[in-house]
Structures are given as C-alpha cells and as structure tokens.
C-alpha cells in the first residue's frame, strides 16, 4: 500500500479529530450534569444502571463468566428462609446462578459463623446475620469489607428509596461497611387500641391520674398506665416486658438511654452504675407487680402469644407483633393493636427525648472465604434493592425482614401489617427507626451484654441491690475493656455512637459519622 493510501485509511484527519473530541466532550458534560439530577448515582460509581437491582444483575452476568461453580451458598437462620426462597426463582431466572441454603437455628448463628471463621471454610458465600454479630465476624476475619463494592455498584443506601437513616450505618465497624442492613428491628411500643379508646377507661384513668389517657409520650405516663391496667380480678396485666435471661439487658438499656446516658462515655468508662443507671434499674424492677407472669421465663415467641391472648395493655417489642396480632388464626385481638413511637423522657433543656432500641435485626454479609465474593455481594445488593425488597418484605411465607427502605412504607405493603391502620405502622416504624440506636456492637459486645443481663436479672429477682448489680457489671466491663485494649475499644465505641440516629446525636452531643458515609450508594 502506498504511503498516501495508508494515511487515508488509518490516520485521523483534522475533521475526524474535531468530531471525536466534540463527541467526547459532550458525553462528559452530559454525564456529569446527570449526576446532579439524581442522588442515586454518586460520582464514584463505576457501574451504571437504572437502579440497584439492574446494576446487580448486569454485573453478575459479566462476572458469571469467571464464576467458580454455579451456586451461591447462603447461611440463613431458621424461620428466615421464606423471603429468600420467594426471591430465588427470580434470581435464578435472571442470572442462571443457583442458590442453596444452610439453615441454622437462630441462637446458633453466631457460633456457626465462628466455625466458618476458624475453619476458613469457603462453603458459605453469604451470611444473613444480625449487625450485632458483625464485629466478631470482622475480628475473626470472616466478614468481607464491602465498602468498595458499595461505592462501585451503588445499592441505594441513601436517596428517596434509600434505607432509613441510621439503619444502614449499623452494619459498619471501625469505619468500614461489612453488611447491608435489611431489617427494622426497632422495639416499638404496642398498646390495645380498644382499651385506649374505651370511654370508661378514659374517664377512670383521668379521674385517677389527673390527665387524659393517651399513647404515652413520657415514661411516667407509661408507668401510670401499666399500673392502671393491671387488674388481678379481671386477669389483665399492664405490660409484657422481657425479664428473662438474654432479654433483660435490653430492657435496662431501654430505660437508661432516654435519660441521656450511654453505657460508656467517650473514654470507654462505664456509666451504667451512675445515678441514672440505678434509677433506670429501679424503674425496671418497679414494674414487677404489673407484668404478665410469663415475662420472667418467656422469650419473644411467648410474648407474642401472650399478647395475642388479649390480657395485656402494652409491650415493647419487634414489628412482627403487629402481623401476628392481626392474624385471626393466632390472635384474639385482631384490629385492636396499635403500634406507637416509644415513650421517652424530658431532658434538662425541656426536649422530649425518645430514643428507640434497634435489637437484633439482620444484614447481608459476605464471607471473605467465598470463592465468588463479588457475586455474593451482588446477590445481597439484588435482594436488598428497593425493587426486590419491596416484593419480599410483605410476604407471609416466613421471614425476618421488616420494612426498612423509604419505598417500603406504602399502603399496599403496610396493609400486610395492619389493613386498617397502616398509617400508624408507617408513622411509628419510621419515627422509631429514625431515632434508633444499636446494641453495644463492638469487640467483646456479647461479653458486655451478657454480664449486664445476668446482673439485671439478679437485681430483678432481689438477689442483689440495683447499685450492687450495676457496680459489679461496671467492674467486669472495665476488665473486659482492659483485656481487649482500651484505646481500640474507645475508637470503636466513638465510631459506633457516631452511627446513632440524628436526634440522638444531637441530644447527647455525639459526633456525626464520617462525611464519606453520606456518599455511600
């Protein structure tokens, strides 16, 4: 070929160059302006798609070519598999990747996860575990840091369809993200709607206490109401609270936190044995005479059953109670349960502080020993996406996932909880979630909580005085902190408190989470 012919065939002339440069510039300008239109596509996202679901599927289809094997293995707690199985055919049809389950008893989830950590088994790709268990999984080198995946694939943690803040922060540990929180296990208040609206009850209550009967805003009202509704002759009880082993610690923290006090200060010194802690424990013990007798031995399943029998005024527990009590097959109080924001206390500055406990809950977490970690993450993102999750949340086939994204709070979805009063469900869950705080979710978390639980029960049973119980707990907490290293524990605790809801951070002068967190997905 002559030189001139070669030049014409392969070299770019000026016109072609200008055309190309212009097109590139235009593409760059238009894509960067699109970024400003939607908060769903952060600047650092590398994968573009209409939504989290689409991005996940697109990426999986690409990665599938290099996938080892053709199956994803999930560790799921017993009772939680319904929602996974519901979505399984859609996933398999979209990706061709099979899903298998290793179903373990709920109480054994942590131990089974640790077995995987010790054996470094690659048999499990994704673990459906509570955020509380994430620190142990991270320290045991089991949980994979998914921060980069989240930045790459954008699971829509924020935005109009995002996860209610601060829930998505609860799967963070030491500044990194290790799971996608997919549950709203906020312990809301439930009262009997019919007893509340009963004119005789209203008159009698106002005559006795001097103010109207209403959904309690302050704990003082709550204590008055449980006294009022306890009637041995009628066989009715004021409340079911969890006074049994493993649960009692939550009840104590539920009463402590609204006083504006956290279990530790910023230097990791235990604060539970102070005057507020003693007062909280006394308040807890003071409810003893107004409680259903099953409280002292029963767990959540007993609580649900007892409440549905219709003899209890109120309880504070997980959102599934609403579904259970509106199921005619199980409940004698269908249509008569009202979910409410939790009560609180008035702080010194006059504000009413109503923090809500996030206990247990679930998140999708990827095993670092998985042979296909990125695909496992994408499966989690797909399940967690606004579109797929809105289909699986309302199922009655069994599962633990409650509404946790803003787009879940629709009439169609919430009617599955309460067909008539779905707006109560929306208001209560969203309020409580926004004001929520997690458990002591850090290294040694289980040790701290177990020690507290034992001593709270000992005080409840009269074996120890409240001051003694909390002093002993604080002493053991100090030992645990020293054993793990105070500086490391301080860092973790301060990061954890920065993940609390905005109202809590404001009320207790807690730091905000790192700025980059807001740019996650």
């Amino acid at each position: 070929m002559k030189k001139e012919e070669h030049r014409r065939a392969y070299e770019m002339n000026r016109r072609q160059f200008i055309k190309l440069a212009g097109a590139s510039g235009l593409a760059t300008l238009s894509s960067s302006s699109l970024l400003g239109l939607g908060s769903l596509t952060p600047a650092h996202a590398e994968v573009v798609g209409k939504n989290a679901e689409e991005r996940a599927i697109k990426a999986v289809l690409e990665l599938k070519k290099k996938m080892k094997g053709d199956t994803l293995n999930l560790m799921v707690p017993a009772g939680g598999e319904g929602q996974f199985m519901m979505a399984q055919p859609w996933w398999e049809e979209a990706t061709g990747i099979k899903v298998k389950y290793m179903i373990v008893p709920l109480a054994q989830l942590g131990s089974k996860a640790m077995n995987l950590a010790v054996t470094r088994s690659s048999k499990i790709d994704m673990i459906f575990i509570n955020p509380y268990g994430i620190p142990d999984m991270v320290d045991g080198k089991l949980a994979l840091d998914i921060t980069d995946y989240v930045k790459k694939y954008n699971p829509e943690l924020t935005g109009p369809n995002g996860v209610i803040e601060p829930l998505y922060l609860f799967a963070m540990y030491n500044g990194k993200l290790y799971g996608l929180t997919c549950d709203t296990d906020v312990n809301s208040l439930y009262v009997r709607r019919d007893w509340l609206e009963d004119a005789d009850n209203q008159k009698a209550f106002e005559d006795k206490f001097g103010y109207p009967l209403r959904v309690p805003v302050l704990y003082k009202e709550y204590f008055d109401q449980i006294k009022f509704f306890t009637n041995p002759t009628k066989g009715t009880y004021g409340a079911w609270i969890y006074a049994s082993p493993y649960y009692a610690k939550w009840e104590f923290l539920r009463l402590l936190t609204p006083k504006g006090v956290l279990p530790f200060d910023k230097d990791m010194n235990a604060q539970i044995a102070g005057p507020e802690g003693v007062e909280a424990l006394r308040e807890l013990i003071g409810q003893k005479d107004y409680l259903h007798p099953g409280c002292f031995t029963g767990g959540w399943d007993h609580a649900f059953k007892a409440y549905a029998e219709g003899k209890i005024w109120c309880t504070l527990t997980w959102p599934a109670l609403i579904k259970y009590c509106n199921f005619p097959e199980y409940s004698k109080i269908v249509g008569n349960i009202k979910i409410c924001p939790v009560p609180g206390n008035k702080l010194e500055d006059g504000t009413i502080f109503r923090p809500c406990q996030f206990t247990y809950g679930f998140s999708y977490s990827v095993s670092r020993y998985s042979k296909n970690p990125e695909i496992a993450y994408l499966y989690s993102q797909w399940m967690h996406s606004p579109t797929i999750s809105s289909k699986i949340v309302p199922t009655t086939q069994g599962g633990f996932i409650d509404p946790y994204r803003y787009n879940h709070f629709t009439k169609e979805l919430l009617e599955g909880y309460d067909p008539v009063h779905w707006e109560d469900v929306k208001e209560a869950l969203m309020t409580n979630a926004a004001n929520s705080y997690p458990e002591i979710q850090m290294k040694g978390g289980e040790e701290y909580m177990s020690e507290l639980d034992r001593n709270v029960i000992a005080a409840f049973q009269g074996l120890k005085k409240p001051e003694e119980a909390l002093r002993e707990t604080a002493k053991v907490w100090e030992e645990i902190t020293e054993r793990f290293g105070r500086e490391g524990q301080k860092k973790q605790w301060n990061f954890l408190t920065s993940c609390y809801g905005p109202s809590l951070r404001k009320a207790m002068n807690l730091p905000d989470p790192p700025a980059w967190v807001k740019t996650l997905g």
Binding site: M114, G140, T297, I457, Q461, G462
Partner: protein, 334 residues
C-alpha cells in the same frame, strides 16, 4: 557331627513335613515387626490409631489452648496466641461464677442420682413380685427414656409454667389460686430441672437394678427364705450387699451423664434466673460459644475433668479392690 537342639529347616522339612514351606524370617524391619505382632492385633491397629488420633490430638490442642490466650475473634492462628501459663486456671478457680457452676453441677448430680437410685431400686424390687405383668410394667416404666431430652425439657417447662398444670393441681388441693413462678425463682428453679431429669432417667437405674437382681445367686435367697427371713431382711442383709457393685456402677454411669447435662437446663431456664440454674456445661456454652473465650473454657474443661477423675476413681475403688482380691484368690487357687 550334627548339633543338638536347633535343627535346620531342610532337615525338619525332610523328616517331619516334606511339603512344609521354608519358615525362616524374611528380610526387612516391617516384615520382622509384623511377624512379632499377632495377626488379630494387626487387624485392629489402624482403627485404634485413628481413634487415638481423634482422642489425643484434640486433647493436646485443648491443653495448648488452656495455656494461651486465644479467641477466634483475635484473628490469629492458635499457635500464634500469647502464652499465659496457668493464668486461665488461676482466673477460673478464683471466679465465683465458675465455682458456683461447679458446685451447682455436683449438687444437681448428687440429688438426682440418689433419687433416681431410690426410685429405680424400689421399682426393681417391686417388679420382682409382679411376675405376671412384669414385661408390661417394664415397658411402661422405661418409656420416659425414649424421649429426646429437648422434648422432656419443653414438657416440664410447660408443666411448671406459672399458669401450668402443676400450679393448677396445687391450687386444687389448696383450694386457693397458686401461681408460683417456679422457673423464675432463683431458689426453686433448680428443682423442676432435677424433677425433669429424674423423670427421664430413673428408668435406666430401674433397668440396671432389674438386671442386677436377676443375676443374684438364687441359692442364698432360697436358703434365707427357708430359714424364715422376712422380705425386708432379705433385701437389707442379702440383696443390697450383693447388689453393691451394680449400684456403684449405676451411680458412676448416671453421674457421668448428669455432669454433661445441658439440653434440659437450656430449654427450661437457660441457666437463669441470672445464673441460678447454670451448671458447668451452660457456663462453658455461654462463655465459650457465645463470647468465644475458647482458651478460658479449655482450662475449665480440664479442671472439671480432674475433679471428675478424682471422684469417680474413689467411687470405684471398693469395686476395683474387690476385683483385685478376687483375681488374687483365683491365682492362689491355681
């Protein structure tokens, strides 16, 4: 001149067994060793080696873990753990919760075994009389043993619930409502657990005693009967002394099982209220598998093993002494 004594194989072969193969040992250490070990022993060596491996290796690992500070949440290998020496043992022996768990375990074991023994022995003696219905009697009595411990635990949990049948029966006899919360009482919660365990396992004692009674020499019993001994005298003077070795073995077997008790307590009280019903296994589960303090619990397991060995060796001493005496007599007679 031919040597006396050892005769060469060819000569033996020629004179005694012309067809006999050459039986001189062949070359090689393995073959020589194989020749020294009897063939039946050779057959069981592989299985024994595997079992020994499964026993010894975990035991050695456990000893190592008890001497170091290791948890899976440390993210380091077992052999990279910090060496603590006997610190875990000292910490445990000075931890009130652990000591109370051990004491509680032995308390439960003692009472449960004694009551099971009394019930089992009593029923076994009674069953001797009911000859016509004995098989049916035995079948009914051993039914509790067929249930999984989890089912037993759940059943007794419901029985002792504050609004359960036990309180209903007591209310009936008292003529007034009785709603005591058995399982949340720090003082009394341990007793429903013991009752559940006794209900489930007294049949084992019963079966052991029945077998023991059947094995008693009939001549002595017949002679006592002829000489006018009362049933009570026969039991106290003849049957019980002869049953002593059987009773000892039954006590040891049941004690070892009760020391391992977990399911019933977990289902009924989870070791609560507080730690009021926490036995050593619940303690090790809580500390080892919930808070993952594996090293600490390894030390606890060795302490428990030491205590158990001391107790059981002393319990079995009279029996072992008797066996030794019997063997001596047999040797002297020979």
């Amino acid at each position: 001149m031919k040597k006396k004594g050892y005769v060469r194989n060819e000569t033996m072969k020629d004179s005694i067994c012309p067809e006999a193969p050459d039986s001189r040992p062949t070359e090689g250490l393995t073959n020589r060793l194989a020749g020294m070990i009897p063939f039946p022993t050779q057959l069981i060596i592989p299985v024994q080696a595997i079992l020994l491996f499964l026993l010894v290796v975990p035991a050695l690992l456990s000893i190592w873990l008890s001497l170091v500070s290791w948890q899976p949440t440390f993210g380091i290998g077992i052999f990279s753990a910090k060496f603590l020496g006997l610190k875990n043992f000292i910490d445990l022996l000075t931890e009130p919760r652990f000591l109370y768990a051990v004491l509680r375990t032995f308390y439960i074991t003692t009472i449960t075994v004694v009551v099971e023994l009394l019930i089992g022995l009593g029923l076994a003696l009674l069953s001797e009389r009911a000859r016509s219905l004995r098989k049916f009697f035995i079948l009914i009595l051993i039914l509790p043993m067929m249930f999984p411990p989890v089912v037993t635990g759940n059943t007794f949990y419901m029985l002792f619930f504050s609004e359960g049948p036990i309180n209903a029966i007591i209310s009936f006899f008292l003529g007034a409502p009785f709603k005591f919360n058995w399982l949340s009482s720090p003082t009394y919660a341990i007793y429903p657990i013991m009752i559940a365990e006794i209900w489930q396992w007294y049949p084992l004692m019963f079966l052991i005693m029945v077998s023991g009674l059947r094995g008693l020499p009939p001549n002595q019993l017949h002679a006592a009967d002829v000489l006018g001994g009362s049933p009570w005298q026969m039991i106290c003077r003849i049957k019980l002394p002869l049953l002593k070795p059987i009773i000892l073995i039954a006590i040891v077997i049941r004690s070892m099982e009760i020391l391992k008790m977990f399911d019933v307590i977990y289902i009924m009280t989870r070791g609560g209220p507080g730690t009021a019903t926490e036995n050593i296994n619940l303690y090790m589960y809580e500390v080892g598998l919930k808070t993952f303090r594996i090293s600490y619990i390894s030390a606890g397991a060795w302490i428990l093993l030491g205590i158990s060995v001391v107790i059981f060796v002393n319990l079995l001493k009279p029996l072992l002494h008797k066996v030794e005496k019997f063997e001596q007599k047999v040797e002297e007679a020979q």
